[in-house]
C-alpha cells in the first residue's frame, strides 16, 4: 500500500483512528529497519555520512526494498556516536564510521553475524543488544518514548506511534476543566527548574474570563550543560505541539508561541517542519478534527540572551523588546503576553502532557516520589564514560545515574562532585551520591533539580574555580535591570577572583556569604535570586578548598593559574625544546644539561609542559 495514499487532511477523530490503523498495517511500518541516530551529537560525529553509506550499500546488495533506514532523534549516548541500531535483533553499534557500513551490511544484515568490533564494552565484555546495555537497561524512557524510534521529520511516524491520540481524546470527550483536573491529579511539576505544579498554573489561566489568552513554550534552554529540550525538539517535536494544543484547549487559548534559542538551528528547523505538517494534516489550525477548536502555533527565535529563559523576560522578548524581566505579581497567568493571561511551560513539561492524558493522571502519578511524579530527563555530561541524554523516574539516586547508566568516571581519577541545575544550582559531593534526584532532596543539599543539566566532575576540577565560572556566567548574562544582581554578582566575582589569585583573606568568606544573601533576597527575577547558589553550595561542601586558596595560597588541582608552580625534574635531558617555546624566557640551562624555571618570570602558560617529550616537567 502506498503510504502517501494515507496522507491527507484529518477531518475528525474517527479519521485519525483510521489513519493510524492503516499506517500500522502498511508495508512501511512492518518492514525491517536500521535506525541511525540523527540527533545533533551524532550528526556532528558524522552520522549523515554513515546514512549515505547505508543507502548505497543496501542498494548495491539489493536490500533497499526489504530494509528501511530510519533517521531518528537522539538515542542518548552522544559520547559514543554515531550510533546505529539494527531493528531485527536490537544490535547496538557504536562509533560507526562510513567505512564500517559495508561490513555491517554484508556480514550482519546478509550473513547474520554481528560485527564484534563495533559493539560496546561493558566490564571488558562485548554486549550486542541495546536492551541489555546498562545505559539503556537502567532508564525508563517515557517522555523520550519516540526519540530514537521515529523520524522526527515525518508526522506519519508520530501518528503511527499513537501521536495526536491524546489531543483527539481531549477534544472529543473532555471539558477544559476535566483536562486541568487530570493534569493536577498527575502531580506533574514544571520541568524548567522551579517545579511549580502544572495543573495549578493551568487552572489559574483557565479561570480568567479574558477571551484572548496565550500559551507559550519555553525552549530557551540556556543552562550550560543542559540539552534535554534540544533533544526533544530535534527528536520528537510533535509531542510538544500536541502538548501545547492540549494546554491551549484547557486554558481557552487559540494562539501559542514556541520561543527557541537561536543556538539550536537544527531544533528550529525540525520544529518548523513539524508545525507545517501538523497544519497540513489539520491537527493544528482552524476547526481541529472537526471539533471547532482552533489553535495557531508560531516559532519565535531567541537572540542569544540567557535571561530570556526567565518567564517574564521571555514574554517581554516576544513582544519585541529588550528581554528584561518584570516584577511578579502580576503573574503571567493573570497578565502575561500583551498583558493577557498566559501559560508558559517548558518543552519537557509539554512533552509529558500527551502521555499523561493517554494513560490518565492516576497512572502517571504511579511513577516518581510522593511529592514529585513522573520521570525526569537529565543531560549527563562531564567526566562520565557515557555522556548523553537519559530519562529516569524522579527520585532515582544520583549514584545510579553516574555509575550504572553513565558507566562511572571516564578518567583514572575519583568522583568529586556533580553540578546540577546550572548557574542556579549547586554541587553534590561524593558523600551525598545516594541523594534521590527529586525537588525536595536536592534543595536540602543546596542544589536544585533545575532543568536537568548534570555535569560530573572528577578530582581535577577546582571547586573555587567552578564557583568563579558560574559567577562569570551570571555576571555576563545579568540583564542589568536591577542593582542587586548587576552589582552584587560583580562584587562576588571580584572576591572569588581574588581568592583564585591567592590574594584572598579569611574575611572574604563571610563577605561572600553576606553578599549572597543580599543578591538572593533583593534581585528582581530568578536569575539573580539563584545566582549565588553555586558559590553557596561550593562553600558548604568544599569550604576547605576555599581555605587552602586563602591561607596556603594553594590550589590542590592546579587549575588556578596564579597558584600553580611549574618545575623541571632531574629527568630533563637538556633538549632545549621548552626553553625555545617559553614566551617570556623564564627557562634557563645549557644544552644537554638539566634546565630550571625562574618562577618569578614564569607566566604559567603551560607551553613548556605540553612541549616536553620526556615527562620532565610537572605542575602542582
Amino acid at each position: 500500500m502506498d503510504i502517501n495514499a494515507h496522507m491527507h487532511f484529518v477531518k475528525s477523530t474517527e479519521e485519525l483512528q483510521t489513519l493510524c490503523s492503516s499506517l500500522l498495517n502498511s508495508k512501511e511500518y512492518n518492514s525491517e529497519k536500521v535506525y541511525i541516530c540523527a540527533g545533533g551529537g551524532c550528526i556532528a560525529s558524522g552520522s549523515m555520512k554513515v546514512k549515505d553509506a547505508f543507502v548505497s550499500h543496501l542498494a548495491s546488495n539489493g536490500l533497499n526494498e526489504k530494509l528501511d533506514i530510519m533517521e531518528t532523534g537522539c538515542l542518548g549516548p552522544c559520547a559514543i556516536g554515531p550510533v546505529v541500531v539494527i531493528g531485527k535483533d536490537d544490535t547496538f553499534y557504536q562509533k560507526v564510521r562510513a567505512q564500517d557500513v559495508k561490513e555491517i551490511v554484508e556480514q550482519h544484515l546478509i550473513g547474520g553475524k554481528v560485527v564484534e568490533n563495533l559493539l560496546h564494552l561493558v566490564d571488558e565484555q562485548k554486549v550486542s543488544k541495546k536492551s541489555e546495555l546498562p545505559f539503556f537497561k537502567n532508564q525508563d524512557k517515557k517522555v523520550l518514548r519516540n526519540c530514537g524510534k521515529i523520524n522526527p521529520t515525518k508526522i506519519a511516524d508520530y501518528i503511527a506511534a499513537g501521536g495526536y491520540q491524546a489531543l483527539s481524546k481531549v477534544l472529543s470527550g473532555m471539558t477544559s476543566e476535566q483536562v486541568v483536573q487530570e493534569v493536577s491529579m498527575s502531580g506533574l511539576r514544571g520541568r524548567g527548574g522551579a517545579g511549580f505544579p502544572t495543573g495549578t498554573k493551568w487552572s489559574f489561566a483557565r479561570k480568567s474570563q479574558d477571551i484572548e489568552k496565550y500559551i507559550l513554550c519555553n525552549a530557551d534552554e540556556g543552562d550550560p550543560g543542559a540539552f534535554m529540550d534540544r533533544s526533544i525538539l530535534e527528536g520528537d517535536p510533535h509531542s510538544i505541539i500536541e502538548g501545547m494544543a492540549i494546554g491551549a484547549y484547557a486554558i481557552g487559548s487559540s494562539v501559542g508561541y514556541v520561543y527557541v534559542r537561536a543556538e539550536y538551528p537544527l531544533a528550529i528547523e525540525r520544529l518548523q517542519i513539524a508545525i507545517d505538517q501538523a497544519q497540513e494534516f489539520g491537527l493544528i489550525g482552524k476547526n481541529i478534527l472537526g471539533t471547532g477548536f482552533n489553535f495557531e502555533l508560531e516559532i519565535r527565535k531567541g537572540s542569544g540572551a540567557f535571561v530570556c529563559g526567565e518567564e517574564t523576560a521571555l514574554i517581554t522578548s516576544i513582544e519585541g523588546n529588550r528581554g528584561e524581566p518584570r516584577p511578579r505579581p502580576p503573574f503571567p497567568a493573570e497578565k502575561g503576553l500583551w498583558n493577557k493571561p498566559t501559560v508558559l511551560n517548558n518543552v519537557e513539561t509539554f512533552s509529558n502532557i500527551p502521555l499523561l492524558i493517554n494513560q490518565g493522571g492516576a497512572v502517571f502519578a504511579e511513577t516518581g516520589t510522593e511529592k514529585s511524579k513522573g520521570t525526569k530527563i537529565f543531560a549527563l555530561a562531564g567526566t562520565v564514560k557515557i555522556s548523553g541524554l537519559v530519562e529516569v523516574p524522579v527520585g532515582t539516586p544520583l549514584r545510579k545515574l553516574v555509575y550504572d547508566i553513565g558507566g562511572g568516571i571516564s578518567t583514572n581519577k575519583k568522583y568529586k562532585a556533580a553540578q546540577i541545575g546550572g548557574p542556579s544550582g549547586g554541587c553534590i559531593p561524593a558523600e551525598h551520591l545516594d541523594v534521590p534526584l527529586d525537588y525536595e532532596s536536592l534543595n536540602k543539599l543546596g542544589a536544585i533539580m533545575g532543568s536537568g543539566g548534570l555535569i560530573v566532575m572528577d578530582e581535577s576540577s577546582c571547586m573555587v574555580d567552578v564557583a568563579r565560572f558560574f559567577l562569570e556566567f551570571v555576571q555576563d548574562e545579568s540583564c542589568g535591570k536591577c542593582v542587586p544582581c548587576r552589582e552584587g554578582t560583580a562584587r562576588m566575582k571580584q572576591i572569588v577572583d581574588r581568592i583564585c589569585e591567592g590574594k584572598g583573606e579569611m574575611k572574604d568568606i563571610d563577605e561572600l556569604e553576606k553578599l549572597a544573601s543580599t543578591v538572593t533576597n533583593a534581585s528582581l527575577c530568578g536569575l539573580g535570586q539563584t545566582a549565588p547558589n553555586p558559590v553557596l553550595s561550593t562553600l558548604r561542601h568544599f569550604k576547605e578548598e576555599y581555605i587552602e586558596h586563602i591561607r596556603d595560597k594553594k590550589c590542590r588541582t592546579a587549575v588556578c593559574k596564579e597558584l600553580i608552580v611549574f618545575e623541571i625534574l632531574d629527568a630533563c635531558n637538556g633538549c632545549q625544546a621548552c626553553k625555545k617555546v617559553c614566551p617570556v624566557e623564564a627557562i634557563h640551562g645549557e644544552k644537554k644539561q638539566a634546565h630550571i624555571i625562574n618562577t618569578d618570570l614564569c607566566i604559567r602558560c603551560g607551553l613548556c609542559l605540553s612541549t616536553c617529550k620526556f615527562d620532565a616537567i610537572v605542575k602542582y
Partner: protein, 178 residues
C-alpha cells in the same frame, strides 16, 4: 560603513537594503515584529548596518533608540561586520571543565585576535558561546553551523587552516567560472 562595489546580482548593499525593505513590510503586521526583522537583517548582511536601522525604525514606526537598545541587548546582533566564519568557543560548564579555556587561548594566539574581533583578512571572527547543547562531545567549538568536537588546543591550527583552504577552493572555482 564599508563601501560595497555595485554589481548586478542584487547582492550589493543597495540591493540588500531593497530586499530588507520587502522583509520589513512583510513582518509589519505581526505583533512583536522588531526582533524577527532584526534577525532577518543580521542574516542578510552578516551584521546590522546603520542604514538598516534607519529603515527598520521608519517602517515599523519604532523609535531609533528602542531599535538600538534591542540590538545591543542581544548577543546575536552585531553592529560591526563579522568575518566569513564565526568561530564560537563553547564556555558552557561541560566544555569548561574539559579545558575550553585552553582552546580559546590557542585560538587567540593562532588568529592574533581577541574575543569579538575579526581577523585582518576578514575570514574569522572570534566569539564565545554559552553552551550549544552538545555537552556529550565536550569540549566543542562551532564554526558557523559546523560543530567540532573533542577539540584539543593542538587541533586549533588544523581547524583554522581547513577553513582557510575552503576559501582558496572557492576562489579557484570562481576563476574557473563555476
Amino acid at each position: 560603513m564599508a563601501k560595497v562595489e555595485k554589481c548586478s546580482c542584487g547582492n550589493d548593499e543597495e540591493g540588500l537594503l531593497n530586499r530588507l525593505e520587502e522583509i520589513i513590510i512583510s513582518f509589519k503586521e505581526k505583533p512583536g515584529a522588531l526582533i524577527p526583522v532584526l534577525q532577518a537583517t543580521q542574516s542578510l548582511f552578516g551584521y546590522i548596518p546603520q542604514e538598516a536601522i534607519l529603515k527598520i525604525s521608519e517602517i515599523l514606526n519604532e523609535p531609533l533608540q528602542k531599535v538600538y537598545g534591542v540590538i545591543t541587548f542581544y548577543s546575536f546582533f552585531s553592529l560591526k561586520p563579522r568575518g566569513k566564519y564565526l568561530i564560537r568557543v563553547c564556555l558552557g560548564t561541560a566544555c569548561y571543565v574539559q579545558g575550553a579555556n585552553e582552546i580559546l587561548t590557542a585560538l587567540k594566539q593562532q588568529l592574533s585576535i581577541e574575543i569579538g574581533e575579526t581577523s585582518p583578512d576578514k575570514l574569522f571572527t572570534l566569539d564565545v558561546g554559552r553552551c550549544f547543547g552538545a555537552c556529550g562531545l565536550a569540549p566543542i567549538i562551532m564554526v558557523n553551523d559546523d560543530v567540532h568536537q573533542w577539540v584539543k588546543p593542538n587541533d586549533v591550527k588544523k581547524i583554522i587552516s581547513s577553513y582557510k583552504n575552503k576559501k582558496e577552493v572557492k576562489q579557484e572555482e570562481a576563476k574557473n567560472g563555476y
